[in-house]
Structure formats: structure tokens, C-alpha cells
């Protein structure tokens, strides 16, 4: 059987299966943002945006319909939604830092086997950007990383120790990539699911630290 890699939408689809009814969730820029399109049926999710919008609606793709006074943290215009609330920046981060955020879905440059996350300072830049990444990674109740399994040069992004600056130590709970779903715990990494056609050995070959396999190891379900 041919190996296939999940595309960005499929990764987002898989991540969104982790969304429980009633969760308050912050989605990072990139693949995480796509998760909003795949909320499992019958579950009501509140999306939180760093700039102070809680419970916003869909991204508006047509500039003629966009309201510049209602954007998410990625500067995308969004729809108003019943039950939405607006707060200022300090209150928005009181939500994050006070432990009121159930889940943050973030992109990453690297994740270590201890769950250290590196996703802030841009490689190749002398000064970086950090935004709300540290607040989210340190304080969300749960952190899921959504990313490609290897970088553009084919090097593993799941590593023994991060070589990029660490955003937050031991913060990642789950990694969803284009080829695997991996749980992170105090004992290390556990392979939970694999993309269609991939063997444990093939995934291990693209992953620096040792992967234990879950007793319930299975193919990623995309439906």
C-alpha cells in the first residue's frame, strides 16, 4: 500500500477530533487556524483570540463583507456569533494565564521528547517575534502541536532536545503531524496513530527520540 501524507486540512481535521463539547480553544496561525472548519458534529466550541475576542464565528473570505473592527489574532476578519464576548488585552490574557483556556493548538519548529516546544523565534532572524505563544504554551490546560513531521530539508522536527529557543518547557500533550499522532507524557513519546501506509519503523526513522507504540495503535481515521 502506498504511503500517504496528510495535507494541512487533514491534519486540522484530526486535531479537531480532540475538541470536546464546550471547550474554550485558542488556535495558532497556520494549520491550527484550519481546525475551526472541522468541529465534530454536535459539539459547541468557543474560539478565543489573543486580541480579546471570545466565541467568534467563521473567517470571512470576501473583503466586501469584512468588518475591519472584528478580526482575529491573525488579522483575519471574522463573523459575529451569538454569545460572543469582547474583552481588552489584559483580560484576554487573564483568560489564558489564569488557566481558563481548555486547549491551545499551536504550530511548531520543534518539539522535544519531554514536550518542550520551540515555535517562537524565527530561524534566521536576529530578533524574533513571540506574540502570545509563551502565554499559551505555559498556561493552557492542554497543548496540541499541529505541524509537518519533518522540516523542508527532511530533518525531524520531533527531537531529543530542541536546538531552537524553547517557547515553554514540558508543555506539549499531543503532536499531530502529516504522518503520525503522538502522545507526550513524563515517560516520553507514544505513537498512537499513523497515516495510511506508514509503518512504525518508517515513522521512527523520521523521529529523533524513541517512540513507544500504544497498545491501541491504529491508522489515523479521517472521518
Amino acid at each position: 500500500m502506498a504511503r500517504s501524507r496528510l495535507d494541512e486540512r487533514a491534519i486540522a481535521f484530526r486535531v479537531a477530533k480532540e475538541f470536546s463539547d464546550g471547550m474554550v480553544i485558542n488556535l495558532g496561525i497556520g494549520i491550527p487556524t484550519l481546525c475551526a472548519n472541522f468541529i465534530p458534529l454536535g459539539r459547541e466550541i468557543l474560539f478565543h483570540s489573543e486580541n480579546g475576542v471570545i466565541g467568534f464565528g467563521e473567517i470571512i473570505e470576501n473583503p466586501n463583507l469584512a468588518d475591519p473592527t472584528l478580526i482575529n489574532a491573525g488579522s483575519q476578519p471574522v463573523l459575529r456569533r451569538p454569545g460572543m464576548a469582547i474583552v481588552d488585552q489584559a483580560e484576554s490574557f487573564a483568560v489564558i494565564r489564569g488557566g481558563h483556556l481548555d486547549l491551545a493548538v499551536l504550530g511548531a519548529f520543534q518539539v522535544s521528547e519531554q514536550g518542550d516546544l520551540a515555535n517562537t523565534v524565527m530561524p534566521g532572524k536576529s530578533i524574533g517575534s513571540i506574540g502570545g505563544a509563551q502565554d499559551l504554551a505555559f498556561c493552557a490546560k492542554r497543548v496540541i502541536v499541529a505541524m509537518t513531521h519533518v522540516d523542508r530539508d527532511g530533518r525531524p522536527k520531533i527531537v531529543r532536545r530542541c536546538t531552537s529557543p524553547v517557547t515553554a518547557p514540558r508543555c506539549v500533550n499531543l503532536i499531530v503531524t502529516d504522518i503520525a499522532v503522538i502522545a507526550v507524557s513524563g515517560e516520553g513519546l507514544t505513537l498512537l496513530e499513523y497515516a495510511p501506509g506508514w509503518s512504525v519503523e518508517e515513522i521512527q526513522a523520521l523521529t529523533e527520540p524513541h517512540l513507544r507504540t500504544s497498545p491501541t495503535l491504529r491508522e489515523i481515521e479521517l472521518l
Binding site: 469584512a66 472584528l70 478580526i71 483575519q76 476578519p77 469582547i86 488585552q89 524565527m122 517575534s129
Partner: protein, 253 residues
């Protein structure tokens, strides 16, 4: 009689001196950026400024690129200028920001000036920045926060354990001026904001010796309902109304 409405943007910043620390509101979108106040500071030409803002801004050089990049989502107005123009013009000696660098190969004005050693950069987590600004407003000189402990943003900062968790000592960011943008104001300086434009604008109000609000509209006293006011006027010293038609940044207003 209390009347905080000032006749022009130039008048609003007329007492600004070299070396001032400015909080500049907004998050990243154009509708929340105090563009006319920034333009007035650019015209005034004060130097050696410390600016505190979520993002370092794009300035004039990358304005068009940004506008083009955003076109599929939002139409940027002609009179959008951000704090990047102060950096470009060499008015800034230090920037305290959470977004210093642009994604990709573009270099923001701050990246260029920092590389040239002309501007000192302090990169601060966004929530820590918001909390440090609020602390100044609320008379809290310092607080502990777990965010950043053990990482590069906590370098050189005091660390202490609370409830078994390592925390960093963070200091209030006090400023001389807060330049903010709001939707409606009354003559007391009470402010309301539309949608996501509240963000750092409301957080910064009151965190500086002088808070100046750039607003769309002044309304009669009493039109803003007491329960709906977001920023009470006690935090605001000056209010200026945006012009009805766009003006270039270098034309006095």
C-alpha cells in the same frame, strides 16, 4: 467644566519631548491603530523615543506590500500608518514589542534598525506585556508570573517559586504617553470601542501620565451608557477626532 477634546493631533502631542516613552495601542489591524497620533509624533520629530506596542509595525516602506498581502481579506484605507514610521525615521531608540520580526524574507523597519545597532529591542510575551501595562495603570510596581520562566524571555530576570512553580518577577511598564484609538468619546474622556479594536487600546488607557485617545466621534455627555463605558474618563487626558476624509501622514492635522 471638564472638556478633554483637543482641536488637532498636532496640538495633542505638542508637549511631547525627546526621550519620552510611548505606549502605542492596537494589536495589528488598521482599524485599531492610532494612525493620526502616530503621524503627529512623526511630524513633531521628537527623538530617542521608547515605544511599547504589540507589533513593531511596517512603516511606509512595507505599507504597500502589506496592503497587497491583505487585499483578499481586508481593504486597507489610505490613512493607515503605524508605529513603523517612527522607527524608519530614526525617532526610536528602544522598542518593547511582542512582534519584532516579520514572517518570511521581508524585514520590518525594526529588524533593519536593530541589525544596524540603532534600536534596542526588548521582546516580551504578549500577555506579560499586557499585564505589565495594566500593572502601571493599577499602581502595582511588580508582579510574579510563570510565563517565560526558564526560557530566553526570562534571561536576567529574578526567579522565585510560588506553589511549586517557577515564576519570573515582572516590572510595570510606566510611560509618559499612551496613544490609543477608540470609537466614541464624550467630553469627560469616557470611551467605547467597536469589536476587536478594544485590545491594547483599552489596556493602555491610564497606564501613562498622559493618555490621548484618537476617536471616530465625540458624543454628548450621557449618550454613552454608564454600564457600557469601557474606559472611564479618569484614565484619559486628551481626546482628538479623526478627520472625515483621509489625510497623508505629513500634512498637519
Amino acid at each position: 467644566m471638564i472638556d478633554k477634546v483637543v482641536g488637532s493631533f498636532d496640538e495633542a502631542v505638542s508637549d511631547m519631548r525627546d526621550g519620552a516613552t510611548l505606549l502605542i495601542g492596537g494589536f495589528g489591524g488598521f482599524a485599531e491603530c492610532p494612525s493620526y497620533l502616530i503621524a503627529a509624533v512623526a511630524r513633531k520629530g521628537v527623538k530617542n523615543l521608547t515605544i511599547v506596542a504589540n507589533s513593531a509595525g511596517w512603516g511606509l516602506e512595507f505599507r504597500d506590500q502589506l496592503v497587497a498581502r491583505m487585499r483578499p481579506l481586508l481593504r486597507y484605507p489610505e490613512d493607515y500608518y503605524d508605529q513603523g514610521i517612527l522607527i524608519e525615521r530614526g525617532q526610536v531608540s528602544k522598542a518593547i514589542v511582542s512582534f519584532a520580526a516579520a514572517i518570511g524574507h521581508v524585514q520590518t523597519p525594526l529588524e533593519k534598525k536593530a541589525a544596524a545597532g540603532e534600536v534596542e529591542v526588548e521582546l516580551v510575551p504578549q500577555g506579560t506585556m499586557a499585564e505589565r501595562i495594566r500593572a502601571a495603570k493599577a499602581g502595582i510596581p511588580a508582579f510574579y508570573s510563570p510565563v517565560g520562566a526558564g526560557t530566553f524571555t526570562a534571561q536576567g530576570k529574578e526567579v522565585r517559586q510560588f506553589d511549586g512553580r517557577e515564576c519570573v518577577l515582572e516590572r510595570a511598564i510606566r510611560a509618559d504617553y499612551a496613544l490609543i484609538r477608540a470609537h466614541r468619546a464624550d467630553r469627560y474622556g469616557n470611551l467605547v470601542y467597536r469589536g476587536s479594536t478594544r485590545t491594547f487600546n483599552a489596556t493602555m488607557a491610564g497606564a501613562a501620565r498622559i493618555t490621548i485617545a484618537e476617536v471616530d466621534e465625540i458624543v454628548e455627555l450621557g449618550e454613552l451608557e454608564a454600564e457600557h463605558i469601557v474606559t472611564p474618563g479618569v484614565y484619559v487626558q486628551r481626546v482628538v477626532v479623526r478627520p472625515s476624509s483621509p489625510r497623508p501622514w505629513n500634512v498637519p492635522s
